[in-house]
Amino acid sequence: MTGTFNQNLSVRHVRGSRWQAAFALATILAVAFLATLVLTIVDDAFGWVIMMDETDRRELTRDGVTLDAQNTAQLLATIDEHLSPRRYRALERELPFADRGRDDLYALVLAEIVNPEIAETYNLFESLVSAQAIKAQAAEEYPEGLLVFRSWVNARFLLAPQSAVPLAAGIKTAILGTLMTILITLAFAFPIGIGAAIWLEEYARDSWLTRAIQVNIYNLAGVPSIIYGMLGLAVFVRGLEPITSGAIFGASAAGDTANGRTILSAGLTLAVLILPVIIINAQEALKAVPGSLRQSSLAVGATKWQTIRYHVLPASFDRILTGTVLAISRAIGETAPLVVIGASTFLTQDPTSIFSKFTTLPIQIYQWTSRPQAEFRHLAAAAIVVLLALMLSLNSFAIVARNKMRKQKRF
């Protein structure tokens, strides 16, 4: 035995420090990417805009009263004077002018006569950094224009349906579509996913069949989502059209051309999409329940189901819930499969039932980003902000619920 020890400490520590630095760098990069993402979106969602009125508001001053302070009679006179006879008759048919309130008339004057349009938009960054230059440009190029700071996310945006006019366009239809679709997804994917996980984890014997099923579930979790769109198109939209269109329930009203391209089809497609994720996650949650808990229940003469129902499920429910919410977040953001099964890209009518035509937030965003006008880019950014807020609130709900449940258990 002639071996000696050469501790070589400095080299070992240097090596360690280098790895440590690499890991820190990786974290910094990840944070930087996320920050860039958020900044880009926020940059587009807020900023100055130059508004141009088709008819100058100052010209509409009547009896020395500015437009925004005019009463019903003055507004009616303005409408009489400026609105084309054809448009007047059309609006009269909708609702007689005599029956309209003051605010309604004011909104009409704004939309039909003043008709403000956005002449130029600026990003938040530009608005903050080069405010002077923007003001100068506005004064020079649009002397009649009105320079205002605009939040593209606003109440009107949330509550208005889709429109071809950027100022009028909103995401109410898309939000309703997303919420209804996700409810369908949850209603199908949660019970089926948990059920399958319980069977696989608690009941199934280890055989080539269960192993094959298991491997396939793992593979399905990695299948690109557009493939699920093809499946949804073939099975739900076409194959099960009588059901998904609501025809056999007598729900398909005349003039409704949704066929199978309904909220129900979309929800089912997304349910199939996240099913493997929910199953795998629930299986992991069940696996994490210690065997001693199962044994203690069985040893007092409980049946297998009683053991699962009263001990295993309560002990794993926090993890199951967290995983389900994460899967649902993923489903909310899915676009490709919905495009394949035929989401409506321009829908101004709110969904009335699960057999309605649908659009969702990601579809809406996708549609707006593919338009050339700058305004729609800002609208897309605003919709992204809403989508992210929706997801963040879902995830925080999951975390809070999990922590609350976790406090109650310990093993």
């Binding site: 044994q295 203690s296 003469g301 409980a302 009263y310 001990h311 109650q408 093993f411």
Partner: protein, 267 residues
């Protein structure tokens, strides 16, 4: 599946003293895959006595114990041959429901494993799912008194069982088993995770409990076997080497291997 006849068989058999033993094994073989963990075990356990099973790690004593109330079959690779007779009924008979067996043959585990529920519910739950019709508060009080835990917990029955110390938790687990009014209590190294004071309390308890129950305890600790048991079995490599009155086995072992083990020469 129809389990009702089994229920009747146990309850009819229960009153009769037809068997000399509370529990008897005949040619019991237990395998894990291809390897045999328990080898032709034939032994009887006296009524209302404490029987200890000792032996080095891997000798099959825990496996044997878990097979008495069919807990061992929860291990997927385990296979059991032979008979375990409880009141003349083989618990491995195809018509016997393991759930029924476990209700009469209770079990206490190595690590305390109370339910993630209140102290009250830890006792009452097992009774409730087994269709107990009496007063639950009474049952909880009686069971806790039997394990000398009542005075310590009577004011916090609604609190989580995890708020108790390890020793208290283990006594709660014993009370949980006792609440079902079983015939036999199986204890798998019940004090190995406990401190000496908690251990002493549980050992004292066994003296009380054996007035009503047949107790079979597996232990690593030979002193413990000597202190608490009336009869002791020594197992080695899956074989029952020697089985005798405790004093006899410790002071006058017949087999050389027993002598080597209890004198600390291996194990």
């Amino acid at each position: 599946m129809q389990h009702t006849p089994t229920t009747d068989r146990f309850e009819v058999a229960l009153g009769s003293e037809e068997s000399a033993y509370a529990l008897e094994t005949r040619n019991l073989n237990i395998y894990y895959g291809d390897s045999r963990a328990v080898n032709e075990l034939s032994m009887g356990f006296d009524r209302r006595k404490v029987t200890a099973i000792i032996g080095p790690s891997g000798c099959g004593k825990s496996t044997a114990l878990r097979s008495f109330n069919r807990m061992n079959e929860l291990i997927a690779s385990a296979r059991t041959e032979g008979e375990v007779l409880f009141h003349g009924v083989n618990v491995y008979d195809p018509g016997v429901d393991p759930v029924q067996v476990r209700r009469w043959i209770g079990m206490v585990f190595q690590k305390p494993n109370p339910f993630s529920k209140s102290i009250h519910e830890n006792i009452a739950w097992g009774a409730r799912i087994n269709g107990y019709t009496g007063d639950f508060d009474e049952l909880v009080e009686d069971s806790l008194k039997r394990v000398a835990l009542w005075d310590e917990v009577k004011d916090k029955l609604k609190e989580s069982a995890y708020a108790l110390s390890g020793g208290q938790q283990q006594r709660l687990c014993i009370a949980r088993a006792v609440a079902l009014k079983p015939e036999i209590l199986l204890m798998d190294e019940p004090t190995s995770a406990l401190d000496p004071i908690s251990t002493a309390k549980i050992e004292d308890l066994l003296d009380e409990l054996k007035k009503q129950y047949t107790i079979i305890i597996v232990t690593h600790n030979m002193q413990q076997a000597g202190r608490v048991s009336d009869r002791t079995a020594f197992m080695l490599l899956g074989d029952l080497v020697e089985y005798a009155d405790t004093k006899e086995l410790f002071f006058n072992p017949r087999d050389e291997r027993t002598e080597n083990y209890i004198s600390g020469r291996f194990g």
